[in-house]
Point group: C2
Protein backbone atom coordinates (compact mmCIF):
# COMPACT_ATOMS: atom_id res chain seq x y z
CA UNK A 1 0.00 0.00 0.00
CA UNK A 2 2.69 2.49 1.00
CA UNK A 3 3.74 3.21 -2.57
CA UNK A 4 0.21 3.78 -3.73
CA UNK A 5 -0.94 6.37 -1.29
CA UNK A 6 0.05 9.71 0.24
CA UNK A 7 -1.54 11.81 2.99
CA UNK A 8 -0.38 15.41 3.08
CA UNK A 9 2.71 14.37 1.18
CA UNK A 10 3.77 11.55 3.51
CA UNK A 11 3.09 7.84 3.86
CA UNK A 12 0.79 8.03 6.87
CA UNK A 13 -2.20 6.15 8.15
CA UNK A 14 -5.75 7.36 7.65
CA UNK A 15 -7.18 8.56 10.94
CA UNK A 16 -10.56 7.07 11.82
CA UNK A 17 -11.48 10.63 12.77
CA UNK A 18 -10.88 11.94 9.29
CA UNK A 19 -14.22 13.34 8.20
CA UNK A 20 -13.91 11.80 4.74
CA UNK A 21 -14.11 8.41 6.43
CA UNK A 22 -16.77 9.35 8.96
CA UNK A 23 -19.16 11.40 6.84
CA UNK A 24 -17.92 11.63 3.27
CA UNK A 25 -16.98 15.21 4.20
CA UNK A 26 -14.76 16.11 1.28
CA UNK A 27 -14.35 16.19 -2.48
CA UNK A 28 -12.40 14.16 -5.01
CA UNK A 29 -10.98 14.35 -8.48
CA UNK A 30 -9.74 11.65 -10.83
CA UNK A 31 -7.29 12.31 -13.66
CA UNK A 32 -4.68 10.68 -15.87
CA UNK A 33 -0.98 11.08 -15.05
CA UNK A 34 1.50 10.44 -17.84
CA UNK A 35 5.22 11.16 -17.74
CA UNK A 36 4.60 12.44 -14.20
CA UNK A 37 2.31 15.11 -15.64
CA UNK A 38 -1.38 15.26 -14.68
CA UNK A 39 -3.48 15.65 -17.81
CA UNK A 40 -5.68 18.75 -18.19
CA UNK A 41 -4.41 19.81 -14.79
CA UNK A 42 -5.38 23.48 -15.04
CA UNK A 43 -9.03 22.43 -15.35
CA UNK A 44 -8.84 19.80 -12.65
CA UNK A 45 -7.21 22.16 -10.19
CA UNK A 46 -9.82 24.86 -10.91
CA UNK A 47 -12.57 22.32 -10.13
CA UNK A 48 -10.82 21.20 -6.92
CA UNK A 49 -10.83 24.83 -5.76
CA UNK A 50 -14.48 25.37 -6.75
CA UNK A 51 -15.65 22.14 -5.12
CA UNK A 52 -13.75 22.82 -1.89
CA UNK A 53 -15.25 26.31 -1.68
CA UNK A 54 -18.75 24.97 -2.35
CA UNK A 55 -18.57 22.92 0.84
CA UNK A 56 -16.52 25.55 2.73
CA UNK A 57 -13.16 23.79 2.80
CA UNK A 58 -10.10 26.01 2.26
CA UNK A 59 -8.65 24.64 -0.99
CA UNK A 60 -5.15 23.11 -1.03
CA UNK A 61 -2.34 24.99 -2.73
CA UNK A 62 -1.61 23.94 -6.27
CA UNK A 63 2.09 23.54 -5.47
CA UNK A 64 1.33 21.00 -2.71
CA UNK A 65 -0.78 18.89 -5.07
CA UNK A 66 1.80 19.01 -7.83
CA UNK A 67 4.56 18.05 -5.42
CA UNK A 68 2.46 15.07 -4.26
CA UNK A 69 2.15 13.94 -7.86
CA UNK A 70 5.92 14.21 -8.38
CA UNK A 71 6.51 12.14 -5.26
CA UNK A 72 4.04 9.34 -5.98
CA UNK A 73 4.17 8.99 -9.77
CA UNK A 74 7.69 7.91 -10.67
CA UNK A 75 6.99 5.88 -13.82
CA UNK A 76 6.46 7.34 -17.28
CA UNK A 77 3.55 5.00 -17.91
CA UNK A 78 0.03 6.30 -17.93
CA UNK A 79 -1.71 5.82 -14.56
CA UNK A 80 -4.68 7.22 -12.66
CA UNK A 81 -4.32 9.82 -9.95
CA UNK A 82 -7.08 10.57 -7.50
CA UNK A 83 -7.02 13.42 -5.03
CA UNK A 84 -9.35 13.33 -2.05
CA UNK A 85 -9.53 16.56 -0.08
CA UNK A 86 -11.24 16.02 3.25
CA UNK A 87 -12.30 18.70 5.70
CA UNK A 88 -9.78 17.19 8.10
CA UNK A 89 -9.84 15.44 11.44
CA UNK A 90 -12.34 16.29 14.17
CA UNK A 91 -14.08 14.81 17.17
CA UNK A 92 -17.16 12.70 16.59
CA UNK A 93 -20.14 14.79 15.43
CA UNK A 94 -21.08 16.99 12.50
CA UNK A 95 -19.68 20.10 14.17
CA UNK A 96 -16.04 21.08 13.67
CA UNK A 97 -13.79 23.88 14.88
CA UNK A 98 -12.77 26.91 12.83
CA UNK A 99 -9.19 25.75 13.23
CA UNK A 100 -9.76 22.54 11.28
CA UNK A 101 -7.28 21.99 8.44
CA UNK A 102 -8.04 19.95 5.36
CA UNK A 103 -6.21 16.71 4.61
CA UNK A 104 -5.16 15.89 1.09
CA UNK A 105 -4.87 12.30 -0.07
CA UNK A 106 -3.37 11.15 -3.32
CA UNK A 107 -4.05 7.64 -4.55
CA UNK A 108 -2.33 6.01 -7.51
CA UNK A 109 -4.03 3.23 -9.48
CA UNK A 110 -3.44 1.50 -12.79
CA UNK A 111 -4.94 2.97 -15.90
CA UNK A 112 -8.11 0.94 -16.59
CA UNK A 113 -7.91 -1.13 -19.76
CA UNK A 114 -10.94 -0.31 -21.87
CA UNK A 115 -11.87 -2.88 -24.52
CA UNK A 116 -10.70 -1.85 -28.01
CA UNK A 117 -14.32 -2.26 -29.13
CA UNK A 118 -15.29 0.73 -27.02
CA UNK A 119 -13.33 3.01 -29.29
CA UNK A 120 -13.85 1.05 -32.50
CA UNK A 121 -17.62 0.47 -32.35
CA UNK A 122 -18.91 2.49 -29.41
CA UNK A 123 -20.58 1.45 -26.16
CA UNK A 124 -24.01 0.44 -24.88
CA UNK A 125 -25.76 2.38 -22.14
CA UNK A 126 -28.46 1.28 -19.75
CA UNK A 127 -31.15 3.69 -18.54
CA UNK A 128 -31.12 3.55 -14.73
CA UNK A 129 -34.39 3.12 -12.89
CA UNK A 130 -33.06 5.22 -10.06
CA UNK A 131 -33.74 8.92 -10.55
CA UNK A 132 -31.52 11.82 -9.50
CA UNK A 133 -32.71 13.95 -6.61
CA UNK A 134 -31.91 17.63 -6.28
CA UNK A 135 -29.33 18.40 -3.61
CA UNK A 136 -27.92 21.43 -1.83
CA UNK A 137 -24.57 20.22 -3.10
CA UNK A 138 -25.35 20.83 -6.76
CA UNK A 139 -22.49 20.14 -9.13
CA UNK A 140 -19.92 19.31 -6.45
CA UNK A 141 -17.84 16.15 -6.89
CA UNK A 142 -18.11 15.37 -3.20
CA UNK A 143 -17.53 12.08 -1.38
CA UNK A 144 -21.24 11.35 -0.80
CA UNK A 145 -21.62 8.91 -3.65
CA UNK A 146 -24.07 6.31 -2.39
CA UNK A 147 -26.68 7.24 -4.98
CA UNK A 148 -24.18 6.53 -7.78
CA UNK A 149 -23.23 3.25 -6.11
CA UNK A 150 -26.87 2.16 -5.82
CA UNK A 151 -27.49 3.04 -9.47
CA UNK A 152 -24.34 1.14 -10.56
CA UNK A 153 -25.83 -1.99 -9.00
CA UNK A 154 -28.64 -2.02 -11.56
CA UNK A 155 -26.45 -4.10 -13.86
CA UNK A 156 -23.59 -6.55 -13.41
CA UNK A 157 -20.25 -6.60 -15.19
CA UNK A 158 -19.40 -4.48 -18.20
CA UNK A 159 -22.31 -5.17 -20.51
CA UNK A 160 -23.10 -1.48 -20.35
CA UNK A 161 -20.32 1.09 -20.27
CA UNK A 162 -22.41 3.39 -18.08
CA UNK A 163 -25.97 4.12 -16.94
CA UNK A 164 -28.06 7.13 -17.92
CA UNK A 165 -29.50 9.03 -14.97
CA UNK A 166 -32.75 10.95 -15.37
CA UNK A 167 -34.16 13.54 -12.98
CA UNK A 168 -37.57 13.26 -11.31
CA UNK A 169 -39.25 14.65 -14.43
CA UNK A 170 -37.57 12.17 -16.75
CA UNK A 171 -35.07 14.62 -18.20
CA UNK A 172 -31.67 13.26 -19.20
CA UNK A 173 -28.99 14.65 -16.84
CA UNK A 174 -25.79 12.62 -16.97
CA UNK A 175 -24.42 9.10 -16.60
CA UNK A 176 -23.19 7.57 -13.34
CA UNK A 177 -19.53 8.20 -14.20
CA UNK A 178 -19.71 10.48 -17.22
CA UNK A 179 -21.42 13.40 -18.92
CA UNK A 180 -23.60 12.94 -21.98
CA UNK A 181 -24.02 14.77 -25.29
CA UNK A 182 -26.22 14.32 -28.35
CA UNK A 183 -25.60 15.58 -31.86
CA UNK A 184 -28.43 16.63 -34.16
CA UNK A 185 -26.93 17.76 -37.44
CA UNK A 186 -24.33 20.42 -36.71
CA UNK A 187 -25.63 21.15 -33.22
CA UNK A 188 -24.50 19.31 -30.08
CA UNK A 189 -26.79 19.37 -27.06
CA UNK A 190 -25.87 18.59 -23.46
CA UNK A 191 -28.24 18.58 -20.48
CA UNK A 192 -28.77 21.83 -18.64
CA UNK A 193 -27.84 21.19 -15.01
CA UNK A 194 -29.55 23.78 -12.90
CA UNK A 195 -30.84 21.51 -10.16
CA UNK A 196 -28.88 18.23 -10.40
CA UNK A 197 -25.77 16.82 -12.06
CA UNK A 198 -22.02 17.31 -12.10
CA UNK A 199 -20.19 19.13 -14.87
CA UNK A 200 -16.97 17.22 -15.49
CA UNK A 201 -13.71 18.63 -16.75
CA UNK A 202 -13.90 16.56 -19.94
CA UNK A 203 -17.41 17.93 -20.54
CA UNK A 204 -15.92 21.43 -20.50
CA UNK A 205 -13.09 20.41 -22.84
CA UNK A 206 -15.49 18.60 -25.15
CA UNK A 207 -17.52 21.81 -25.52
CA UNK A 208 -14.35 23.77 -26.25
CA UNK A 209 -13.26 21.33 -28.96
CA UNK A 210 -16.76 21.07 -30.44
CA UNK A 211 -16.79 24.82 -30.96
CA UNK A 212 -13.35 24.68 -32.60
CA UNK A 213 -14.74 22.04 -34.95
CA UNK A 214 -17.56 24.33 -35.97
CA UNK A 215 -20.42 22.78 -34.00
CA UNK A 216 -23.06 24.83 -32.26
CA UNK A 217 -23.27 23.86 -28.58
CA UNK A 218 -26.51 24.16 -26.61
CA UNK A 219 -27.32 23.34 -23.00
CA UNK A 220 -30.91 22.14 -23.10
CA UNK A 221 -33.61 20.29 -21.17
CA UNK A 222 -34.55 17.09 -23.01
CA UNK A 223 -35.97 13.65 -22.28
CA UNK A 224 -34.93 10.17 -23.31
CA UNK A 225 -37.10 10.15 -26.47
CA UNK A 226 -35.30 13.16 -27.80
CA UNK A 227 -31.93 11.53 -27.02
CA UNK A 228 -32.93 8.35 -28.86
CA UNK A 229 -33.94 10.35 -31.95
CA UNK A 230 -30.61 12.17 -32.17
CA UNK A 231 -27.97 11.50 -34.84
CA UNK A 232 -25.22 10.57 -32.43
CA UNK A 233 -24.66 10.25 -28.67
CA UNK A 234 -21.39 10.66 -26.74
CA UNK A 235 -20.30 10.18 -23.17
CA UNK A 236 -17.22 11.83 -21.66
CA UNK A 237 -15.04 11.47 -18.62
CA UNK A 238 -11.45 12.07 -17.60
CA UNK A 239 -10.26 8.50 -18.06
CA UNK A 240 -11.77 7.25 -21.31
CA UNK A 241 -12.13 10.69 -22.86
CA UNK A 242 -14.98 10.57 -25.41
CA UNK A 243 -16.93 7.45 -26.38
CA UNK A 244 -19.63 7.16 -28.98
CA UNK A 245 -22.77 5.36 -27.86
CA UNK A 246 -23.84 2.55 -30.16
CA UNK A 247 -26.98 1.39 -28.35
CA UNK A 248 -29.54 2.60 -25.81
CA UNK A 249 -32.61 0.37 -25.35
CA UNK A 250 -33.71 -0.64 -28.89
CA UNK A 251 -32.07 2.28 -30.63
CA UNK A 252 -28.75 1.59 -32.37
CA UNK A 253 -26.35 3.99 -33.99
CA UNK A 254 -23.78 3.32 -36.71
CA UNK A 255 -20.19 3.96 -35.78
CA UNK A 256 -18.90 7.37 -36.86
CA UNK A 257 -15.53 9.08 -36.73
CA UNK A 258 -16.29 12.05 -34.53
CA UNK A 259 -15.48 10.48 -31.13
CA UNK A 260 -12.00 9.51 -32.36
CA UNK A 261 -11.40 13.01 -33.58
CA UNK A 262 -12.45 14.39 -30.19
CA UNK A 263 -10.10 11.99 -28.40
CA UNK A 264 -7.24 12.94 -30.65
CA UNK A 265 -7.84 16.63 -29.91
CA UNK A 266 -8.24 15.92 -26.17
CA UNK A 267 -4.92 14.09 -25.99
CA UNK A 268 -3.16 16.92 -27.73
CA UNK A 269 -4.69 19.91 -25.96
CA UNK A 270 -1.86 22.07 -24.76
CA UNK A 271 -3.14 22.80 -21.23
CA UNK B 1 -4.99 6.03 18.37
CA UNK B 2 -4.46 2.28 18.62
CA UNK B 3 -6.54 1.97 21.76
CA UNK B 4 -9.42 3.94 20.34
CA UNK B 5 -10.07 2.08 17.17
CA UNK B 6 -10.64 -1.43 15.82
CA UNK B 7 -11.04 -2.74 12.27
CA UNK B 8 -12.55 -6.20 12.02
CA UNK B 9 -11.50 -6.82 15.58
CA UNK B 10 -7.85 -5.86 15.19
CA UNK B 11 -5.75 -2.71 15.42
CA UNK B 12 -5.22 -2.20 11.70
CA UNK B 13 -4.84 0.72 9.34
CA UNK B 14 -7.70 2.06 7.26
CA UNK B 15 -7.13 1.21 3.61
CA UNK B 16 -7.45 4.17 1.24
CA UNK B 17 -9.47 1.77 -0.88
CA UNK B 18 -12.07 1.25 1.77
CA UNK B 19 -15.30 2.45 0.23
CA UNK B 20 -16.36 4.27 3.39
CA UNK B 21 -13.39 6.56 2.83
CA UNK B 22 -13.76 6.85 -0.95
CA UNK B 23 -17.52 7.24 -1.31
CA UNK B 24 -19.20 7.15 2.09
CA UNK B 25 -20.29 3.65 1.09
CA UNK B 26 -21.49 2.34 4.42
CA UNK B 27 -23.62 2.97 7.48
CA UNK B 28 -22.95 3.94 11.09
CA UNK B 29 -24.47 3.78 14.51
CA UNK B 30 -23.65 5.66 17.70
CA UNK B 31 -24.51 4.38 21.17
CA UNK B 32 -23.54 4.58 24.82
CA UNK B 33 -21.36 1.86 26.36
CA UNK B 34 -21.40 1.52 30.14
CA UNK B 35 -19.86 -1.28 32.14
CA UNK B 36 -18.78 -2.75 28.80
CA UNK B 37 -22.45 -3.05 27.85
CA UNK B 38 -23.86 -1.19 24.84
CA UNK B 39 -27.10 0.53 25.81
CA UNK B 40 -30.32 -0.41 23.99
CA UNK B 41 -28.22 -2.80 21.97
CA UNK B 42 -31.08 -4.94 20.66
CA UNK B 43 -32.52 -1.89 18.94
CA UNK B 44 -29.19 -0.66 17.64
CA UNK B 45 -28.26 -4.01 16.21
CA UNK B 46 -31.66 -4.32 14.53
CA UNK B 47 -31.08 -0.94 12.86
CA UNK B 48 -27.54 -1.92 11.79
CA UNK B 49 -29.02 -4.95 10.03
CA UNK B 50 -31.83 -2.94 8.40
CA UNK B 51 -29.49 -0.17 7.25
CA UNK B 52 -26.94 -2.62 5.81
CA UNK B 53 -29.68 -4.41 3.89
CA UNK B 54 -31.09 -1.13 2.58
CA UNK B 55 -27.81 -0.45 0.77
CA UNK B 56 -27.18 -4.12 -0.01
CA UNK B 57 -24.36 -4.83 2.41
CA UNK B 58 -24.44 -8.23 4.14
CA UNK B 59 -24.87 -7.28 7.81
CA UNK B 60 -22.15 -8.20 10.35
CA UNK B 61 -22.90 -10.91 12.88
CA UNK B 62 -24.05 -9.69 16.25
CA UNK B 63 -21.41 -11.80 18.00
CA UNK B 64 -18.60 -10.09 16.08
CA UNK B 65 -19.86 -6.65 17.08
CA UNK B 66 -20.29 -7.61 20.71
CA UNK B 67 -16.83 -9.12 20.81
CA UNK B 68 -15.39 -5.87 19.39
CA UNK B 69 -17.07 -3.95 22.18
CA UNK B 70 -15.60 -6.29 24.81
CA UNK B 71 -12.15 -5.83 23.32
CA UNK B 72 -12.18 -2.04 23.02
CA UNK B 73 -14.22 -0.94 26.04
CA UNK B 74 -12.31 -2.02 29.14
CA UNK B 75 -13.38 0.71 31.56
CA UNK B 76 -16.64 0.76 33.49
CA UNK B 77 -17.12 4.44 32.76
CA UNK B 78 -19.74 5.57 30.31
CA UNK B 79 -18.27 6.18 26.84
CA UNK B 80 -19.49 6.44 23.25
CA UNK B 81 -19.21 3.59 20.79
CA UNK B 82 -19.58 4.08 17.08
CA UNK B 83 -19.74 1.27 14.56
CA UNK B 84 -19.07 2.02 10.92
CA UNK B 85 -19.90 -0.81 8.55
CA UNK B 86 -18.42 -0.18 5.12
CA UNK B 87 -19.08 -2.17 1.99
CA UNK B 88 -15.40 -3.13 2.08
CA UNK B 89 -12.33 -2.56 -0.06
CA UNK B 90 -12.47 -2.38 -3.85
CA UNK B 91 -10.64 -0.93 -6.81
CA UNK B 92 -11.31 2.69 -7.74
CA UNK B 93 -14.81 3.13 -9.19
CA UNK B 94 -18.42 2.74 -8.10
CA UNK B 95 -18.54 -0.88 -9.25
CA UNK B 96 -17.56 -3.69 -6.89
CA UNK B 97 -17.33 -7.47 -7.11
CA UNK B 98 -19.88 -9.87 -5.68
CA UNK B 99 -17.09 -11.25 -3.50
CA UNK B 100 -16.65 -7.99 -1.60
CA UNK B 101 -16.78 -8.37 2.20
CA UNK B 102 -17.84 -5.61 4.54
CA UNK B 103 -15.40 -4.04 7.00
CA UNK B 104 -16.52 -3.19 10.49
CA UNK B 105 -14.93 -0.35 12.40
CA UNK B 106 -15.45 0.40 16.06
CA UNK B 107 -14.46 3.79 17.43
CA UNK B 108 -14.41 4.71 21.10
CA UNK B 109 -14.81 8.32 22.21
CA UNK B 110 -15.49 10.09 25.49
CA UNK B 111 -19.06 10.63 26.58
CA UNK B 112 -19.89 14.24 25.65
CA UNK B 113 -20.50 16.45 28.67
CA UNK B 114 -23.84 18.15 28.20
CA UNK B 115 -24.38 21.30 30.25
CA UNK B 116 -26.55 20.66 33.35
CA UNK B 117 -28.86 23.42 32.09
CA UNK B 118 -29.84 21.23 29.16
CA UNK B 119 -31.60 18.86 31.52
CA UNK B 120 -32.64 21.45 34.10
CA UNK B 121 -34.14 24.12 31.84
CA UNK B 122 -34.23 22.65 28.33
CA UNK B 123 -32.47 23.67 25.12
CA UNK B 124 -32.86 26.17 22.30
CA UNK B 125 -33.24 25.09 18.69
CA UNK B 126 -32.52 26.98 15.50
CA UNK B 127 -34.60 26.46 12.37
CA UNK B 128 -32.17 25.62 9.57
CA UNK B 129 -32.48 27.47 6.27
CA UNK B 130 -31.32 24.37 4.44
CA UNK B 131 -34.19 22.09 3.50
CA UNK B 132 -34.16 18.30 3.35
CA UNK B 133 -34.28 16.67 -0.05
CA UNK B 134 -35.87 13.30 -0.69
CA UNK B 135 -33.38 10.53 -1.32
CA UNK B 136 -33.37 6.96 -2.56
CA UNK B 137 -31.71 6.17 0.74
CA UNK B 138 -34.72 7.05 2.88
CA UNK B 139 -34.27 6.43 6.58
CA UNK B 140 -30.81 4.87 6.33
CA UNK B 141 -28.10 6.13 8.69
CA UNK B 142 -25.50 6.02 5.93
CA UNK B 143 -22.13 7.72 5.71
CA UNK B 144 -23.23 10.35 3.20
CA UNK B 145 -23.72 13.13 5.70
CA UNK B 146 -22.64 16.29 3.88
CA UNK B 147 -26.14 17.79 4.03
CA UNK B 148 -26.13 17.51 7.83
CA UNK B 149 -22.65 19.02 7.94
CA UNK B 150 -23.69 21.97 5.76
CA UNK B 151 -26.78 22.56 7.93
CA UNK B 152 -24.68 22.39 11.13
CA UNK B 153 -22.61 25.29 9.79
CA UNK B 154 -25.62 27.61 10.02
CA UNK B 155 -24.62 28.44 13.60
CA UNK B 156 -21.40 28.49 15.61
CA UNK B 157 -20.74 26.93 18.98
CA UNK B 158 -23.43 25.55 21.26
CA UNK B 159 -25.93 28.39 21.39
CA UNK B 160 -28.46 26.00 19.90
CA UNK B 161 -28.51 22.35 20.91
CA UNK B 162 -29.64 21.34 17.44
CA UNK B 163 -31.22 22.64 14.23
CA UNK B 164 -34.70 21.82 12.95
CA UNK B 165 -34.78 20.53 9.39
CA UNK B 166 -37.86 21.11 7.24
CA UNK B 167 -38.67 19.41 3.96
CA UNK B 168 -39.25 21.25 0.67
CA UNK B 169 -42.86 21.97 1.66
CA UNK B 170 -41.92 23.42 5.05
CA UNK B 171 -42.99 20.40 7.08
CA UNK B 172 -41.02 19.63 10.23
CA UNK B 173 -39.04 16.40 9.75
CA UNK B 174 -36.24 16.07 12.29
CA UNK B 175 -33.19 17.83 13.71
CA UNK B 176 -29.66 17.47 12.37
CA UNK B 177 -28.68 14.99 15.10
CA UNK B 178 -31.99 14.10 16.73
CA UNK B 179 -35.66 13.32 16.25
CA UNK B 180 -38.37 15.72 17.33
CA UNK B 181 -41.72 15.38 19.13
CA UNK B 182 -44.45 17.78 20.20
CA UNK B 183 -47.03 17.28 22.92
CA UNK B 184 -50.53 18.73 22.68
CA UNK B 185 -52.42 17.75 25.81
CA UNK B 186 -52.23 14.00 26.19
CA UNK B 187 -51.22 13.38 22.58
CA UNK B 188 -47.63 13.34 21.35
CA UNK B 189 -46.99 13.96 17.66
CA UNK B 190 -43.86 13.13 15.71
CA UNK B 191 -43.25 13.84 12.01
CA UNK B 192 -44.35 11.23 9.52
CA UNK B 193 -41.25 10.28 7.50
CA UNK B 194 -42.41 8.81 4.25
CA UNK B 195 -40.03 10.66 1.93
CA UNK B 196 -37.20 12.05 4.10
CA UNK B 197 -35.75 11.66 7.58
CA UNK B 198 -34.14 9.03 9.79
CA UNK B 199 -35.99 7.22 12.56
CA UNK B 200 -33.57 6.90 15.46
CA UNK B 201 -33.51 4.16 18.05
CA UNK B 202 -34.32 6.63 20.84
CA UNK B 203 -37.31 7.84 18.81
CA UNK B 204 -38.61 4.26 18.85
CA UNK B 205 -37.99 3.90 22.58
CA UNK B 206 -39.55 7.30 23.30
CA UNK B 207 -42.74 6.15 21.56
CA UNK B 208 -42.72 2.93 23.57
CA UNK B 209 -42.35 4.79 26.86
CA UNK B 210 -44.90 7.46 25.91
CA UNK B 211 -47.48 4.73 25.37
CA UNK B 212 -46.63 3.17 28.74
CA UNK B 213 -47.20 6.58 30.30
CA UNK B 214 -50.65 6.76 28.79
CA UNK B 215 -49.99 9.20 25.95
CA UNK B 216 -51.52 8.80 22.53
CA UNK B 217 -48.80 8.78 19.86
CA UNK B 218 -49.44 10.02 16.33
CA UNK B 219 -47.17 10.27 13.32
CA UNK B 220 -48.36 13.35 11.47
CA UNK B 221 -47.46 15.92 8.84
CA UNK B 222 -47.14 19.37 10.41
CA UNK B 223 -45.36 22.65 9.83
CA UNK B 224 -43.37 24.95 12.10
CA UNK B 225 -46.41 27.04 13.14
CA UNK B 226 -48.09 23.96 14.52
CA UNK B 227 -44.92 23.01 16.40
CA UNK B 228 -44.64 26.48 17.93
CA UNK B 229 -48.25 26.32 19.15
CA UNK B 230 -47.76 22.96 20.91
CA UNK B 231 -47.62 22.55 24.70
CA UNK B 232 -44.17 21.01 24.80
CA UNK B 233 -41.40 20.01 22.38
CA UNK B 234 -38.78 17.28 22.83
CA UNK B 235 -35.74 16.12 20.92
CA UNK B 236 -34.24 12.66 21.27
CA UNK B 237 -31.02 10.88 20.38
CA UNK B 238 -28.92 8.00 21.66
CA UNK B 239 -26.45 10.12 23.60
CA UNK B 240 -28.46 12.77 25.43
CA UNK B 241 -31.66 10.75 25.54
CA UNK B 242 -34.61 13.17 25.76
CA UNK B 243 -34.34 16.94 26.05
CA UNK B 244 -37.15 19.42 26.44
CA UNK B 245 -36.99 22.41 24.12
CA UNK B 246 -37.27 25.75 25.88
CA UNK B 247 -37.08 28.09 22.87
CA UNK B 248 -37.57 28.10 19.11
CA UNK B 249 -37.54 31.50 17.41
CA UNK B 250 -39.66 33.79 19.65
CA UNK B 251 -41.63 31.01 21.26
CA UNK B 252 -40.57 29.96 24.76
CA UNK B 253 -41.77 27.08 26.88
CA UNK B 254 -41.71 26.70 30.65
CA UNK B 255 -39.67 23.83 31.99
CA UNK B 256 -41.71 20.72 32.77
CA UNK B 257 -40.90 17.35 34.31
CA UNK B 258 -41.75 15.03 31.48
CA UNK B 259 -38.32 14.92 29.79
CA UNK B 260 -36.68 13.85 33.08
CA UNK B 261 -39.23 11.12 33.51
CA UNK B 262 -38.53 9.88 29.98
CA UNK B 263 -34.78 9.87 30.66
CA UNK B 264 -35.25 7.95 33.86
CA UNK B 265 -37.33 5.35 32.03
CA UNK B 266 -34.82 5.21 29.15
CA UNK B 267 -31.90 4.55 31.50
CA UNK B 268 -33.78 1.76 33.19
CA UNK B 269 -35.24 -0.01 30.20
CA UNK B 270 -34.35 -3.64 30.48
CA UNK B 271 -33.28 -4.30 26.87
Amino acid sequence: MSKQFLINGTFQKISPFDRAFQYGDGIFRTFIVENKKPRHWKYHYKKIVEDCRAIKITPPKESALLSDIQLLFKAKKRAVGKFIISRGVSERGYKFNDTITHNRFLIKTKMPIYPNEYFKFGVDLIVCKQRLHPSVLLGVKHLNRLENIMARQEWKGDRYADGILLDQDGHVIECISSNIFMRIGKTIYTPKMNHVGIKGVTRELFIKIAKQLGFKIKEAIFNLDKLLKSDEVFITNSLFGVLQVKKIKNRSWQHQELASLFNHKLENLNI
